[in-house]
């Protein structure tokens, strides 16, 4: 620490940008996004900059980079999820989490676009896709933030129920922030009503929750990659809750 030149005044806090200001009006909005790292930084610190860049001609490159980041982050978090059971789950859990996330987003994309148009938004399909990818990136980046905590619990508990609850809680918190980005995005796209967007996020959450059951087991293990029996996620959860806690001796039973 350099104490020879003590600073008399702390560095100024950057002024908060008025959220009502149209995109591109503030000079920071127009700063180019050069790569995935800058894109992630913009998502976390300057969402307006990301929203502005998503409307520009080079947005496809940014979206592709963001999608790659989301896939990588989901895969890394999948490794942490797989570490609970170990063995084959080290590759099965990342594959299922990445696949499930991408498929859920693709299933919900058409309805989001239609709903956004009905709400009066001027967004193009590519912009809506960019916003959804932004939601996925924010969600998965935050999941990476939670990953060390999840890993510690994975190594110290034998309860699938507890781990399932923990992962769901982390996912819920992360999705909330992703949703906030999406909502801000639509507010800047002339959406006159947010009602349709609230309906959509409910649908998206339901699809994601059902995806966890459709692709089970993600935390535990099974001989089959996909489950043989179709179930509604609530029914599956209640069944898991009614089961006895798994035996700690063998990781393959988890």
């Amino acid at each position: 620490m350099n104490e020879s030149q003590p600073s008399a005044t702390p560095p100024p806090i950057p002024p908060t940008i008025n959220s009502a200001l149209p995109l591109g009006e503030h000079p920071d909005d127009r700063l180019p996004i050069t790569g995935p790292v800058t894109a992630v930084e913009a998502l976390l610190r300057q969402p307006r900059r990301m929203l502005f860049q998503l409307r520009q001609s080079g947005a496809a490159k940014i979206i592709a980079g963001l999608l790659l980041v989301a896939v990588l982050c989901a895969a890394v978090y999948g490794l942490v999820v797989g570490s609970f059971a170990g063995g084959a789950q080290y590759w099965i859990a990342p594959v299922k989490i990445v696949g499930g996330m991408v498929v859920a987003a693709l299933i919900c994309l058409p309805s989001l676009y239609i709903f956004s148009c009905l709400a009066g938004s001027q967004a193009r399909l590519a912009e809506v896709f960019g916003l959804v990818v932004g939601l996925l990136v924010l969600t998965t980046i935050l999941l990476i933030g939670f990953a060390p905590v999840a890993w510690v619990f994975s190594q110290s508990t034998n309860s699938i129920t507890a781990m399932g609850f923990l992962h769901l809680a982390f996912w819920a918190v992360a999705t909330f922030f992703g949703w906030r980005f999406l909502k801000n995005g639509f507010a800047h796209l002339s959406a006159q009503s947010m009602g349709a967007l609230y309906v959509w996020i409910c649908i998206f959450v339901l699809v994601c929750l059902q995806m966890t059951t459709a692709l089970r087991p993600i935390i535990g293990t099974s001989e089959d990659f996909f489950p043989k029996e179709k179930k509604f996620f609530l029914a599956h959860w209640f069944e898991v809750l009614e089961q006895r806690p798994a035996q700690p001796a063998s990781a393959t039973q988890r």
Binding site: I107, C117, L118, S121, K230
Partner: protein
Amino acid sequence: MTTPSQALPPLALGQIPTLLRGEPGPIQLWIGDWRASRVLFYAAVTVAGTAAFGLVLGAWRDPMQGVYTAIKFPLIVLLTAMGNGLLNGMLAPLLGTNISFRQSLLAVLMSFTIAAAVLGACAPLIYFAIWNAPKFSGALAGTALTIHSVIYLGLVAAMAVAGLAGNVRLLQLLRRISGNEGAARRTLFAWLAGNLFLGSQLAWMARPFVGAPHLPVEFLRPNALEGNFYESFWQHLQQIFQ
């Protein structure tokens, strides 16, 4: 001054978001500028959206049922629009909305296009839900009946949302054309009543759509002219809550 939306050619896909947003300027211009290619384009979008929705609805019972529903669903929508076209065209000026027969047909077709776009967008969601349901071949009789009822209610819910979206936009358009809130509401109500009356009966005659578990997969039921839509809806509600 012409906006980009107004300048769109009759076959441009960009018309769909404009219709969904209910942008009054371009829509009123399109209504006034009758072109067969535009009508065909709206009909094509309506067919695509409703066919995609029909395909996933019937898919749970049997893939062939999905194909049948994908054929019948667009037919019902288009037949309703055409069957009531003359009546709608006559009712509009009588109720205070001074538009021509062609314009009324195009306005109704536009609202059906909006509804079809919503249904088409819901198709992947419905398919995901159906994919997660126990397969028809492996399901017990009681379970199959419950799943059938849930899909049936899902169909009604999706159609209600799609219909609402289409009609809200239609009301805005009628309000703009007539310049009179009361006339617009009266016209919409009359059109809705007529379309519902004809559409529900056509739908009843063209059943099955989801495909009842205890009945064979068919294009049309042999007793196509027996019973009615509302009676069936009530029975499905009872099945779920009993």
